[in-house]
């Protein structure tokens, strides 16, 4: 269940998406996988980390914990202070510090740090702000490296398509692509999904009520010496070109669980309402603080989704799955019958999903049996982008409207300049292209 091994019917929308993404590409002709050789158990695997924030540091430690012959050899970050901070944490961790071979010479900053890291490793952890993921992933798979890919994998439709192509290249080269959509690796959630999808414990799914309602997150302040580019990159959550907005950066976990339950098929359409009520100060960039999206899926299934980041509001994160024969709560790991009586509860072990995903990742490399999470990580990323597009524009959008959108967000070249900020989107006025045009002036 961990990899994208589900078998969509040949005519499914998802299949269409998958194939349309590479249609006409020379890659399509390369049908024989050229498997990278299995690494065996004793061979050293050199690991590099790109994006040295809190999550990247966590993922790098998870990687070292997962495989006793993994060694961390290179760090990349736009900012050297972040790479140095990461090294401090690795050195202080008694369980992994003896396998940290990073030196001053193997820590890279600037926007091209990723090339130097990727060139010097076997396995790479991609954990920068999502904007940079497509470019980094492409370079990594072309260089033949196994990739741990944090979520989301892109911030716009061109980015999603680019990642889909990269995953195709990875599959042809026999490279593992493991997604940071971590709940797919959680034992309790997997068992709950088995109850829902295989045991049919709630009958057929009718609809999913999905919520990622939370408070606000961190801010790293400002500094008069920072260009506006640096300010935005350091506070990347609050800029759509960097994070995809919080529906993509954070609430994708909820949308991904919905997609999982609905067979990772693309939805038909999305209608959404969103805006910015509480987090209005300019320090919070231009992202929204709440989204509500109704997704229509094939076969009359629906997802009713909300997410928000507002302080002092009630928080709730989970999917309530409504079935013909009962209900389930996914993160709570419980199933109820139609009378509301609990009929199942997960009672098994609860290893950290962050550890499990790296254990399976490294095992796949050792065994020469690559994991391919690419399909679902792209589909779930696009679901989040679609929800954002519907809310920003106030229009009911079809999947095709969204996946075929050609607007790429963010500057085309990266430099420490005073980058402009797009205005906050206003439904009914904002067009899909508005966010991209800001960077073209």
């Amino acid at each position: 269940m961990s990899d994208s091994s589900s078998n969509p019917s040949p005519n499914s929308r998802r299949d269409f998406l998958k194939h349309s993404a590479i249609a006409g590409s020379a890659l399509a002709a390369m049908t024989v996988p050229q498997y990278a050789h299995a690494a065996g158990t004793d061979e050293t695997l050199r690991v590099g980390l790109i994006g040295c924030g809190g999550r990247g540091r966590g993922a790098a430690i998870d990687a070292l914990m997962a495989d006793k012959n993994a060694r961390l050899v290179a760090l990349g970050d736009a900012f050297m202070d972040r790479a140095e901070g990461a090294l401090t944490d690795f050195t202080a961790n008694a369980e992994v510090s003896d396998r940290v071979d990073v030196t001053k010479e193997t820590m890279y900053d600037g926007f091209d740090n990723f090339k130097k890291v990727i060139d010097s490793v076997d396995v790479v952890v991609l954990a920068t702000p999502p904007h940079f993921r497509p470019e980094h992933l492409r370079y990594a798979v072309e260089a033949g490296k196994h990739c741990f890919v944090e979520k989301p994998v892109a911030v716009d439709a061109p980015g999603v398509k680019h990642v889909q192509e990269s995953c195709k290249i990875a599959a042809e080269k026999g490279l593992s692509i493991v997604s940071g959509l971590c709940w797919r690796y959680d034992h309790a959630v997997r068992a709950t999904m088995q109850q829902i999808l295989e045991e049919k414990a709630i009958g057929d799914i009718v609809a999913i009520e999905s919520k990622y309602n939370a408070g606000t997150l961190w801010h790293r302040g400002d500094n008069p010496e920072w260009s506006r580019m640096e300010y935005q990159v350091r506070n990347w959550l609050y800029y759509t070109w960097l994070s995809g907005d919080h529906i993509a950066e954070q609430a994708i976990h909820s949308l991904d669980k919905c997609a999982w339950m609905l067979g990772d098929e693309a939805p038909i359409s999305a209608m959404g309402i969103g805006g910015r009520q509480q987090r209005t100060d300019p320090k919070w960039g231009h992202i929204f603080d709440h989204f509500t999206v109704f997704f229509e899926f094939p076969n009359g299934k629906h997802v009713y989704f909300t997410c928000r980041q507002q302080d002092n509001t009630d928080t709730f994160v989970d999917e309530r799955v409504l079935g013909t024969n009962g209900q389930a709560e996914v993160l709570k790991n419980v199933v109820y019958d139609n009378n509301g009586k609990r009929t199942w509860r997960y009672r098994g072990d609860r290893p950290s999903m962050y550890r499990v995903e790296h254990q399976e990742f490294f095992k796949s490399i050792r065994d020469g049996k690559p994991i391919a999470n690419g399909d679902y990580m792209c589909n779930s990323t696009m679901l989040a982008i679609m929800g954002r597009m519907a809310c920003y524009t106030g229009k009911t959008l079809t999947w095709e409207d969204c996946i075929n959108d050609t607007n790429r967000l963010g500057p085309t070249t990266y430099d420490w300049v005073d980058l402009p900020e797009p205005p906050v989107a206003i439904p009914g006025r904002t067009q899909l292209g508005d966010l991209a045009s800001v960077y073209q002036g």
């Binding site: 924030g53 809190g54 999550r55 540091r57 966590g58 993922a59 790098a60 430690i61 901070g85 990461a86 944490d89 202080a92 961790n93 971590c182 309602n213 939370a214 408070g215 606000t216 997150l217 961190w218 801010h219 790293r220 302040g221 954070q250 976990h253 320090k283 302080d311 002092n312 928080t315 709730f316 994160v317 989970d318 993160l331 709570k332 419980v334 609990r342 509860r345 609860r350 290893p351 950290s352 999903m353 962050y354 550890r355």
Partner: protein, 382 residues
Amino acid sequence: MLRVITTFPIAIALLAAVGICPQLHAETPGLMAEPPAEGRSVKTDQGYMVEYTDTIPGTDVTFAMVPVPGGEYEFKQGDKTLHVQIEPFWMSKTEVTWAEYKKFMNLAIVFAKFDDQKLRQVTDENKLDAVTAPSKLYDPGFTYDTGDEPNQPAVSMTQFAAKQYTKWLSLLGQNFYRLPSEAEWEYACRAGSTTLYSFGDDEDELEEYAWYDDMNDMQTGPVGKKKPNAWGLHDMHGNAGEWVLDSANPPADGPADGSKATVDQAVSWPTEVFPRVVKGGSWDSMADECTVTSRAESSQDWKSFDPNVPSSSWWFASYEGQLVGFRLVRPLQAPERSNREKYWQADLPVILDHANRRIDEEGKGERGIVDPELPQAIEKIQ
């Protein structure tokens, strides 16, 4: 002027009430010159300790404290037995609830606003009175899985965060609050009993006293709904497990001359981040894990669901974290200000270093000054 006129009669009435009521001082809640007409009291040379209800300054949230008499306690840890002289204290009638703890959590928002406006900044001169506020929750599910209703016990905080809570509450008002020691906790839980549970040895009776064995559908129980022990303490068995000051390593030997150990001498003061002691069992413990002497030990694994490094200084993100809360004690004899830090502050440099890095490098968590003027300052910026 109108305000003065309207409040004046109320002030008079309050003064009159204090005069009638045999309290020693209005600012010494829980202490009376004469024994109360009804209800428990504990006689001390400073007066009669009684149950009292206090309000968290600047909020409408209240909490009740009940008196625990002094006495001698035979504190057994492994093959060691310490004879501990317990001094009188008040203890929270229930575990600290989400209603209470969320007021503390709110400081993350408040301190950030102060920083934006350069108000109440932490300096070298005032930093002794600074606390670190818990970071905002990235995924509230990890923290609130077992419920976050106002009358449910707060859970999932680290021992450091619980200690910072006691510092915050103390500096807001006049009273000194801290976590209990393990010996104090057991002594209070026993309430004079010598049995497995405070009410006897029969685990069939436990459900009258405790939320345990998942009897509330994966939720903690509302506090104070089960029977209390003989001293009026609710939920000592089950519901949230409770932090104490102690590490899980054996305490030091008692005084060489055979005299009784003080509470401080009987504490196994931590020298490592883990393991530390959690008492009383939880809502998901079995009956034999909820006895007076039961203890759970915290571990690094409780942070394994934290996706970030450095991991949170204030929160666990695991199933085990959902089992852990705390309650307060207020000793009748409060230590000098200079002796309070050991109960309130990070006891190891690494804990403080992580908290500081989370705040300064990641923007997660906040630092601010706590004093009696804080509630007004909060009101002003809102």
